[in-house]
C-alpha cells in the first residue's frame, strides 16, 4: 500500500496538483518567497519614505532589506566603496548633473533605474495673526531669490505679488537647507543653475560655490545670515516645523507626514500647483530620459524641459529618484545577493508603486517601469522567478492585459508612455475648456524614455523637444513660456491676478476632468478572459475526468479481480 502510487491514487493526486496550480494562478495560495539573502543600501532621504514602505512590505514577504537615509552623496560613496549592495540617489555619478565634490566612482559596472517620482516641496511655517497660513503662493523667480539670499523678508514685493490680499509678516525669512550631501540639494541647485543662472551666480559669489555646477552640498559658507543648515530630511523638517518664518525644500512626503503646508508654486502656465501625484506626473512627461544604453547614466533624467513646461497642471520641481545597482558581481555583492536585489527592485517598480501617491510621491509611468525592469535583468544573479514576473509585466503591457503590476499610471491596452495620472489630472478651475484643449487627447503628454514617445506630440512639440531645451537651458524654457498657448507668463507675473482671482473664487467646487471611461476589458485580452479560459478548461475537466477515472478504475478492478481469482 505504501509503495508506488496506484492508479487509483493517481487521479486524485493529479487533481490535487492541478488544484494547487490553479490556486497559485488564481492568486489564492500562500507561498514562500525564495530564500533571499539579506541586503542593504543607503542614500537619498528624499526618497526615504518610499524605501521604508517597500522595505516594510517585502519584510512581510520574509525578505529583509536594510536602508539608511544618509543622503544621496553618502549613498553613492558607500556603493562605490562596495560597502552596500545598492544606493538610491537623485543624481548620477557623472555628467553635468553630478557634483564634482562627490569624487567616489564605482570601480565596477553599474546601472541606474528610476524607482519613484516626486516633487520637491517648499514647506513653510508662517502665521498670519494667530492662524497658520496654508495658502502661500510662490513664483519660481521668488523661490530663486529666497534661496540665494536675495529676498530675505517675507513681505518682499516678489512674494507679495503672488499673494495679493495676504498680510505677509515683516519678518526675516529663515531659510532651512540640508547640511548633508543630498540629491534634493543637487536637483534644486541644478534648477537654480539652469533657470536662474544669474541668481545662482550671486549665491556663489557670496558663498564661494562654483557658478557653473550644481552642488549636492548647499552653499552657505561663510554664512548667509538668514540660512540655517540641518542634517537630513528629518532635520530640515523638524527645524521648519518648530520655527516660525522658515521655509525649506524637500520631498512632499515629509511635509505631509508632519501635517505642514507646502507653497503652491507657479508653473510656466501661470497656475499655482502642489506636488501631488498628478502634478508631478504631468511635469515629468517633459523629463528627458537618457536613452543611450551604453552610458552608465542610461535612464538618468534631464529636467530642463520640466521646469518650463506649460501644462497648466504641471508642478515644476518634479524629479525621479534612482536606484543604483551593480551590473557585475562585486566584493559587496555576489549572485545570491543579486537575486535579492532583483526581487526587491522589481517589487519596488511593480507592486511598490501603488501606494506612492498616498505617501506623497507619484508612481512611475509604465514605460520607465519597463525600462527599469530591463536594468534589473542586468543584475548578476537575478533569479528566474523575478525574470518570470518581469516577463509577465512586459507581456501584459504589450498584450494590453492586466495585471501590469496594477500600476495606477497604466491602462491596459494603452501605450505604456501614456500616464493615466496625467490623463486624469484635474485642471484648475480657472483653466477653461479652451485652456485645456492642448493638454487633452490621446497623443497629449506622453512620457519620454525607452519605448516612450520620442518626440512630444503635445502643443509644444515645436519648441520644447528636450534637446532644444538642453542646448539653451534657461532661455529655452523662458522663451517657451512667452510663446506657448497658455495664458500666463512664468516670470512677469502678468496673469497673477487672473489666476489668483479665479483660484479664490473657486471655493469648494472642484472641477473634474470628464475623461471618457473605457472598460478595462474592452480592449484586448485581459484577466477576465484568462479566467474564463481557465474556467472553460475546468468545465472540460469536469466533463471528461469522471468517465475517464471510472474507466481507469473499472479496468483496475477487473485486473485485480483477475489476480485474486
Amino acid at each position: 500500500m505504501i509503495r508506488p502510487l496506484s492508479k487509483r491514487r493517481t487521479v486524485p493526486a493529479v487533481l490535487g496538483i492541478l488544484l494547487s496550480v490553479g490556486m497559485v494562478f488564481a492568486g489564492l495560495a500562500p507561498a514562500q518567497a525564495a530564500n533571499y539573502l539579506r541586503i542593504g543600501g543607503s542614500g537619498s532621504s528624499w526618497a526615504g519614505n518610499a524605501l521604508q514602505d517597500w522595505i516594510a512590505r517585502v519584510g512581510a514577504q520574509g525578505v529583509t532589506v536594510d536602508y539608511e537615509n544618509k543622503g544621496s552623496s553618502t549613498g553613492r560613496k558607500e556603493f562605490a566603496d562596495q560597502m552596500k549592495q545598492f544606493a538610491v540617489s537623485e543624481i548620477p555619478y557623472t555628467g553635468d548633473t553630478a557634483d564634482p565634490r562627490d569624487n567616489s566612482m564605482p570601480g565596477f559596472s553599474y546601472g541606474m533605474l528610476p524607482v519613484v517620482a516626486g516633487g520637491t516641496a517648499f514647506m513653510y511655517n508662517l502665521k498670519t495673526g494667530s492662524s497658520r497660513m496654508t495658502s502661500l503662493k510662490l513664483s519660481q523667480p521668488a523661490i530663486a531669490k529666497i534661496f540665494t539670499g536675495q529676498a530675505t523678508r517675507w513681505n518682499d514685493p516678489i512674494i507679495t505679488a503672488d499673494n495679493p490680499g495676504v498680510a505677509l509678516p515683516d519678518a526675516t525669512i529663515n531659510v532651512v537647507v540640508r547640511s548633508d550631501g543630498s540629491g534634493a540639494t543637487a536637483q534644486f541647485t541644478l534648477w537654480l543653475l539652469r533657470q536662474f543662472p544669474a541668481d545662482y551666480a550671486k549665491l556663489c559669489a557670496v558663498t564661494g560655490c562654483d557658478p557653473q555646477h550644481a552642488t549636492s552640498f548647499f552653499p552657505t559658507n561663510p554664512g548667509l545670515k538668514n540660512f540655517v543648515a540641518q542634517n537630513g530630511s528629518q532635520g530640515v523638517t523638524t527645524y521648519t516645523a518648530n520655527n516660525q518664518y522658515t521655509i525649506n525644500y524637500d520631498e512632499y512626503s515629509y511635509a505631509q507626514g508632519i501635517g505642514f503646508p507646502a507653497a503652491q508654486v507657479k508653473n510656466a502656465a501661470g497656475f499655482y500647483t502642489l506636488p501631488t501625484e498628478h502634478a508631478v506626473a504631468v511635469a515629468l512627461t517633459k523629463a528627458n530620459i537618457n536613452q543611450d544604453k551604453g552610458s552608465p547614466n542610461y535612464l538618468s533624467q534631464d529636467l530642463s524641459a520640466v521646469y518650463g513646461y506649460k501644462d497648466p497642471r504641471s508642478y515644476p520641481m518634479s524629479a525621479y529618484s534612482y536606484m543604483i545597482i551593480p551590473t557585475q558581481t562585486t566584493n559587496a555583492m555576489n549572485a545570491a545577493q543579486g537575486a535579492t536585489l532583483g526581487f526587491f527592485a522589481n517589487y519596488a517598480l511593480c507592486e511598490g508603486q501603488r501606494p506612492m501617491g498616498q505617501l506623497g510621491y507619484s508612481p512611475l509611468p509604465m514605460n520607465l517601469v519597463l525600462a527599469g525592469m530591463e536594468q534589473i535583468r542586468k543584475i548578476p544573479g537575478v533569479d528566474q522567478e523575478t525574470v518570470r514576473k518581469m516577463d509577465q509585466t512586459r507581456d501584459s503591457v504589450s498584450g494590453g492585459s492586466a495585471p501590469a503590476c496594477n500600476n495606477p499610471t497604466f491602462k491596459p491596452g494603452d501605450s505604456p508612455s501614456a500616464n493615466q495620472l496625467v490623463r486624469t489630472a484635474p485642471f484648475d478651475k480657472a483653466c477653461d475648456a479652451a485652456c485645456q484643449v492642448p493638454w487633452r487627447g490621446a497623443e497629449a503628454a506622453l512620457n519620454q524614455g525607452p519605448a516612450g514617445a520620442t518626440t512630444s506630440a503635445g502643443p509644444e512639440a515645436a519648441t520644447t523637444t528636450a534637446e532644444a531645451a538642453d542646448q539653451t537651458p534657461g532661455a529655452a524654457a523662458q522663451a517657451d513660456a512667452a510663446a506657448g498657448p497658455a495664458s500666463c507668463d512664468a516670470d512677469s507675473g502678468a496673469c497673477t491676478a487672473a489666476g489668483a482671482g479665479a483660484a479664490n473664487a473657486a471655493g469648494a467646487a472642484q472641477q473634474l476632468t470628464p475623461v471618457t471611461t473605457t472598460l478595462v476589458s474592452s480592449r484586448g485580452w485581459g484577466q477576465p478572459q484568462n479566467l474564463l479560459l481557465i474556467i472553460g478548461g475546468l468545465v472540460g475537466l469536469l466533463v471528461l475526468v469522471p468517465p475517464l477515472a471510472a474507466g481507469a478504475l473499472s479496468r483496475r478492478a477487473r485486473s485485480k479481480g483477475g489476480t485474486k481469482a
Binding site: P12, N35, D66, G223, N242, G257, H278, N504, L519, L538
Partner: protein, 924 residues
C-alpha cells in the same frame, strides 16, 4: 539559487501537513480548505507565553534554559565535556585534552565550579517557538578576573549557529552540537572592535588547526593565519580566501549592521551579566536559515553559543572564538524555532492600507496569517495618523488611526488593537554594579540584602523607573541644566549651574530633582547624564496622546504654563506658555524672571522668540531652537565647524520603531560629533554608549518596546501614591474607562486616569473605512480582515498570526464594536456608483482649495452611526454624481471569476471523488 533539500526531523505538525498532500487525501483536503477558506490552520501552535510583557521589560517563558560550564545537569544537547570525550571538529580528531594546558587551566579557574563562585552558569530566557525576537541572555558565577585597575576582564562572546552539516553537507538532524563553521560571528558586534583578532573569525596561531580540513582546504595560505570559513545553511561552498573575517561587508551572509553577535559581553565585578540578544530567523540571517520552511534550506533547531574568555586566555591565544582551542571552552543552548510563516505571492496585488505606526508590529504578525486564512495580501504602509485620516477621503480606502476623522467623512471605525505609548529605557544601573561603602547612601538601599535583591531583579539595568506627568514635561522642555545643550552658560547665563541671578537656580539634572527622588528613592544609581527622551518626528496620535496626558494633568499643565513645582523648579522659559494660569498670584514676578532669562540669552540668528502653546500645532514634540553653539571660524573668517543647533543636539527620529531601535542600541539621537575627516567635514551621529554606562530614554509604542524587551517607565499620579506600568492588564483596565468622543464608535483614553489600575497612555487603534465610497467587494475584503483581527488576531503569543507582546487583547466592549462594524461591512450593498478602482483617482486639489491637502468633499451626508448601513444609495458623493469618476471603471474586480473558479474546481473534484464510488457501485 539554493538547492531544494531541507530537513525532515520535523515536529508532528509539519509531518501532518506533509501528510495532507499525500495522494488520496490531498485533493479532498485541498478542496475543503478552499471551500472553507476561513478555517483556522490545521496545525495550531501550542499556547505560548508572551502575554506577560510589562514595564520590567523581561518576559518569562516556559522554555528558559540554564546551562553550566561544568555540565552539571545540562541537557544532553547542551553538554560540552571538558575532557577527552569532547572531540573538536576541523582538528583531525583532536580533543579537549589536546588544548594547551595553560588555556584549560585558565578557563577552569575562571569558569569551573571550583572558582569560588559556583562556576559559570548561563541562562537563555526562551529557547522554544522562537522567531525574530529578543531573548535575555544572562550569566552568573564567573570569576571576574579583575585586572590591575580592578575592572573585570572576564567576558563572553555570544553568537548564533545553525548546527552541523552532515556528510552530504545538509544539516545533520542528529547533531548534538553545532559546528563552528556554521556560526554567525566575525562581523564584529555592537561592542566589537574590527581590528581585534579576538573579535574576528581568526584562527590565529591555534595549533589544533594543524592537519585538519580547514588547513587542508587552503594549503597555499599561511597555515597559522587562517580565518574559520563560514558554511551557510544552503550548503554553498565558501572559500577561505573569500576573506570572511577581514572585511565585514564582503561577507554576503552577515555584516556589522545585520549581525547579532556579542564580541565582548563583559562580566560585572560580581561575575555576572545580562543582555538582550536578538534571535534571528532565516529572514534576518539568511546564512543561518533558522526556522523551518519547506522550500529552502532551513533548520528548525539552531544554537546559541557562548565562549567565555579572560585576559589571561587572550594573552595565550588572541584568536577568535571559532578557533578550536577556544571553541572547546564554549557553553551551548539549542534554540528551537517556529516554522517560518507562509507569505502571499509577491506579485499578487495587495489590498492597500495606511495608518497608525502603533500597529506596525501587529501587522507584521497578522499579514501572513491573513494571507493564509483569508487568501488575500494585505499591504500596510505606516503613515502619520494625521496623514492617514486624509486618505479616508479617497474612495474605498482603509486607514488605521486612533483619533477619528472629521464627522463629515462618515467613516466606520472598527477596533483592531489596544496599543500603548511607553517611555522605554536602557539605563545601566551603576548601583547594582558594585557594592561600595557609598552604595547604601547613594542608592537608597536599606541594607546589603536589599541591594542583593535589587541586583538579582534588575540584572544590571534600571527596570523600575517611575515618572509622573510633570517629570516628563520637564524632560521634554530642556528644563534641567544638563539638557540645555548646546546652550553655553556664556550665551544663556540662566543655564549656569548655581546661578541665582534669575531667582532659583535651574535644577541640574533629573536626579537632583526632589520630585524624582521621591518617586525613585534608589535613584538611577548613576551620576551620569540622562538625556531627554528620543522622540519621533511623525505627527502621530501616539504623540497627541502623550500631550493629552500632560495637559490633563494639573501639575504638568501648570509647569508648562510657567508655574514652579513644589521645590521651586520652573520650566525653561523658552518652552513656557507664560500664562501662569495656575499661579496667577505670582504671575507678574514669574514673568519678570522669565523675561529676564530670555533677554539675557544670546539667541541664534534667525530665531524668533514666540510664546509656546500646547499642544503644539506644529510638531509632535515641540522643539525650540533657542540656543546654539556658534560656528567656529578659521583664521580667514571662513566657517570651520558650522553652528550646532538644538535640532542637532536632540534630533528627532523618523518614527516610534526607530526610537525603540535607538534605545536598544543605546544610540543617542544626536548628530553633534564633528567629523573633520569626512568629505566634506560634517557633524555626524554620536557613537553608541558603551555597556555599563548606557542611559537612553525614548517615547515609543509598547509593542516596539516589548519586541526588544525594553523596560518601560511606570507612570504615577501627582503625589506619587499610585503608579502603573504598561502591561496587558493595565491597558485593558484603561480601555474599560475609555470615554466617548464626538464620533460614534470611537473612544479615547480617560481624561482623569485611574492610576490604581489603568495605564494612562492606552491607545485604541481603529480600522477606518469610508462607507460612502466603499464597494461591496472592498467591504467584504475588509470584513474578512477585521474578522481575522478580532478573533485569531487577538490571541496573545509569539507565533505568526497572533497578537504580539506589547498589545492587550481587545476588551469585550471593543470586540462588540468590532463585531458590529464587521456586520455593517458585510451588509454593504453593491456598488452604488461606478466603482473606482483601488487606485481611484481623485481630482487634484485646485489652487483654491488651499493646503494642507484639502480634498473634494465626498460623501458629506453619510450617517456616521457605526452599525447603521445606509439603506439607500445616499445622495452623497455629489461630486461623483455630477461627473463620473475619471479613469478606469471597476477593473472587473476578480472576485466573481475567482469564486466561479473555486466552484468549478470544487465541482470537478466532487465528481472525481464520486467517480470511484460510482465505479464501485457499478461493479457490484
Amino acid at each position: 539559487m539554493p538547492t531544494s533539500w531541507n530537513i525532515q526531523w520535523a515536529p508532528r505538525a509539519r509531518q501532518l501537513r506533509a501528510a495532507l498532500w499525500a495522494p488520496g487525501v490531498a485533493a479532498t483536503a485541498a478542496a475543503a480548505a478552499l471551500l472553507l477558506g476561513s478555517l483556522t490552520p490545521v496545525a495550531a501552535a501550542p499556547p505560548v507565553p508572551g502575554s506577560d510583557w510589562g514595564s520590567q521589560g523581561s518576559m518569562v517563558s516556559d522554555s528558559s534554559a540554564t546551562v553550566t560550564w561544568d555540565n552539571t545537569s545540562n541537557a544532553p544537547d547542551s553538554r560540552v565535556p571538558r575532557g577527552g570525550t569532547q572531540t573538536l571538529r576541523h582538528t583531525a580528531g583532536k580533543t579537549y585534552d589536546d588544548v594547551d594546558q595553560r588555556l584549560r587551566d585558565a578557563a577552569s579557574r575562571a569558569f569551573g565550579s571550583g572558582n569560588g563562585r559556583g562556576g559559570l552558569s548561563l541562562t537563555v530566557s526562551q529557547t522554544k517557538n522562537l522567531q525574530n525576537q529578543s531573548v535575555t541572555v544572562s550569566f552568573t558565577g564567573a570569576d571576574p578576573q579583575a585586572g590591575s585597575n580592578g575592572a573585570s576582564t572576564s567576558y563572553l562572546q555570544v553568537f548564533q549557529c545553525w548546527g552541523k552539516p552532515g556528510a552530504d553537507k545538509k544539516p545533520d538532524p542528529a547533531a548534538t552540537e553545532p559546528d563552528p563553521s556554521t556560526c554567525q560571528f566575525g562581523a564584529t558586534g555592537l561592542d566589537g572592535d574590527i581590528s581585534n583578532t579576538a573579535h574576528q573569525r581568526s584562527l590565529l596561531n591555534d595549533p589544533l588547526v594543524r592537519g585538519g580540513d580547514w588547513e587542508a582546504a587552503d594549503p597555499a595560505s599561511p597555515a597559522m593565519n587562517l580565518p574559520a570559513p563560514f558554511a551557510p545553511v544552503s550548503g554553498d561552498e565558501t572559500r577561505i580566501t573569500d576573506g570572511f573575517n577581514l572585511s565585514e561587508y564582503r561577507n554576503p551572509y552577515f555584516s556589522r549592521t545585520s549581525t547579532n553577535e556579542f564580541s565582548r559581553f563583559l562580566s560585572s565585578e560580581q561575575g555576572a551579566g545580562s543582555r538582550t540578544f536578538e534571535v534571528q530567523s532565516g529572514a534576518e540571517a539568511s546564512g543561518l536559515g533558522c526556522g523551518y520552511r519547506p522550500d529552502a534550506p532551513s533548520v528548525a533547531k539552531c544554537w546559541l553559543v557562548a565562549v567565555p574568555r579572560t585576559a589571561a586566555i587572550d594573552a595565550i591565544l588572541p584568536a577568535g572564538p571559532l578557533a578550536p582551542s577556544l571553541w572547546a571552552m564554549r557553553v551551548q543552548v539549542p534554540l528551537n524555532f517556529q516554522d517560518v510563516a507562509a507569505v502571499c505571492p509577491s506579485d499578487q496585488a495587495a489590498t492597500l492600507s495606511v495608518g497608525s505606526e502603533a500597529l506596525t508590529v501587529a501587522m507584521k504578525s497578522w499579514i501572513p496569517a491573513v494571507c493564509e486564512t483569508k487568501k488575500f495580501t494585505l499591504g500596510f504602509s505606516p503613515l502619520a495618523d494625521l496623514q492617514a485620516r486624509t486618505q479616508l477621503q479617497q474612495p474605498g480606502s482603509l486607514a488605521f488611526t486612533t483619533q477619528p476623522a472629521s464627522a463629515g467623512i462618515g467613516a466606520l471605525y472598527v477596533p483592531t488593537a489596544l496599543a500603548g505609548v511607553v517611555i522605554a529605557m536602557t539605563i545601566d544601573n551603576a548601583c547594582t554594579a558594585a557594592f561600595t561603602p557609598y552604595t547604601l547612601a547613594d542608592c537608597g538601599y536599606q541594607d546589603k540584602a536589599d541591594w542583593e535583591a535589587d541586583k538579582a531583579r534588575s540584572a544590571g539595568q534600571v527596570r523600575d523607573l517611575k515618572l509622573n506627568a510633570r517629570l516628563l514635561a520637564k524632560l521634554l522642555t530642556q528644563s534641567y541644566v544638563q539638557h540645555t545643550a548646546p546652550a553655553s552658560a556664556l550665551d544663556a547665563p540662566f543655564t549656569k549651574p548655581g546661578n541665582t541671578a534669575y531667582g532659583q537656580p535651574m535644577t541640574y539634572s533629573i536626579q537632583n530633582d526632589p520630585e524624582f527622588r521621591k518617586l525613585n528613592p534608589k535613584g538611577l544609581g548613576s551620576s551620569g547624564n540622562l538625556n531627554p527622551p528620543v522622540v519621533e518626528g511623525l505627527r502621530s496620535d501616539a504623540a497627541a496622546a502623550v500631550w493629552d496626558w500632560l495637559l490633563n494633568d494639573k501639575d504638568a499643565r501648570a509647569f508648562l504654563n510657567g508655574c514652579p513645582d513644589s521645590s521651586g523648579m520652573s520650566i525653561n522659559p523658552f518652552y513656557s506658555t507664560r500664562t501662569y494660569t495656575e499661579c496667577q498670584d505670582q504671575a507678574a514676578e514669574l514673568d519678570k524672571l522669565a523675561a529676564q532669562k530670555i533677554s539675557g540669552t544670546t539667541m541664534p540668528d534667525g530665531f524668533t522668540y514666540a510664546r509656546q502653546s500646547y499642544p503644539s500645532e506644529g510638531a509632535s514634540y515641540p522643539q525650540v531652537y533657542w540656543a546654539q553653539r556658534a560656528a567656529t571660524r578659521n583664521s580667514d573668517g571662513s566657517v570651520d565647524q558650522p553652528a550646532l543647533t538644538v535640532g542637532d543636539q536632540y534630533a528627532r527620529v523618523q518614527d516610534m520603531a526607530a526610537a525603540a531601535q535607538n534605545t536598544v542600541r543605546a544610540q543617542p539621537a544626536s548628530t553633534t560629533s564633528w567629523c573633520a575627516d569626512c568629505s566634506p567635514p560634517a557633524y555626524k551621529a554620536v557613537p553608541r554608549q558603551g555597556y555599563g554606562s548606557r542611559n537612553i530614554l525614548s517615547i515609543t509604542d509598547a509593542a516596539s518596546a516589548a519586541k526588544f524587551q525594553l523596560p518601560t517607565a511606570q507612570l504615577c499620579n501627582g503625589d506619587g501614591s499610585l503608579c502603573v506600568g504598561a502591561n496587558s492588564k493595565s491597558l485593558q483596565a484603561a480601555a474599560a474607562q475609555f470615554e466617548a468622543t464626538g464620533i460614534p464608535g470611537v473612544l479615547r483614553a480617560a481624561t482623569v486616569p485611574d492610576y490604581a489600575t489603568a495605564y494612562p497612555l492606552a491607545l485604541p487603534v481603529y480600522g477606518a473605512v469610508n462607507l460612502a465610497s466603499i464597494s461591496q467587494s472592498q467591504a467584504a475584503t475588509y470584513a474578512q480582515l477585521f474578522s481575522y483581527v478580532s478573533t485569531e488576531g487577538q490571541k496573545t503569543g509569539f507565533s505568526s498570526g497572533m497578537l504580539p507582546p506589547g498589545y492587550a487583547p481587545l476588551t469585550e466592549p471593543l470586540l462588540q464594536l468590532a463585531a458590529a462594524g464587521i456586520q455593517t461591512l458585510q451588509g454593504v450593498p453593491g456598488p452604488r456608483q461606478p466603482e473606482a478602482a483601488t487606485t481611484a483617482l481623485l481630482p487634484m486639489e485646485s489652487v483654491s482649495s488651499g493646503n494642507p491637502p484639502a480634498v473634494a468633499p465626498l460623501a458629506q451626508a453619510v450617517p456616521a452611526a457605526a452599525a447603521v448601513v445606509p439603506a439607500a444609495p445616499p445622495a452623497a458623493a455629489p461630486v461623483a454624481a455630477a461627473a463620473p469618476m475619471p479613469g478606469r471603471t471597476a477593473a472587473t474586480r476578480s472576485a466573481w471569476p475567482q469564486y466561479t473558479l473555486v466552484i468549478g474546481l470544487a465541482a470537478a473534484l466532487a465528481s472525481a471523488a464520486a467517480a470511484p464510488l460510482l465505479a464501485r457501485g457499478r461493479r457490484k
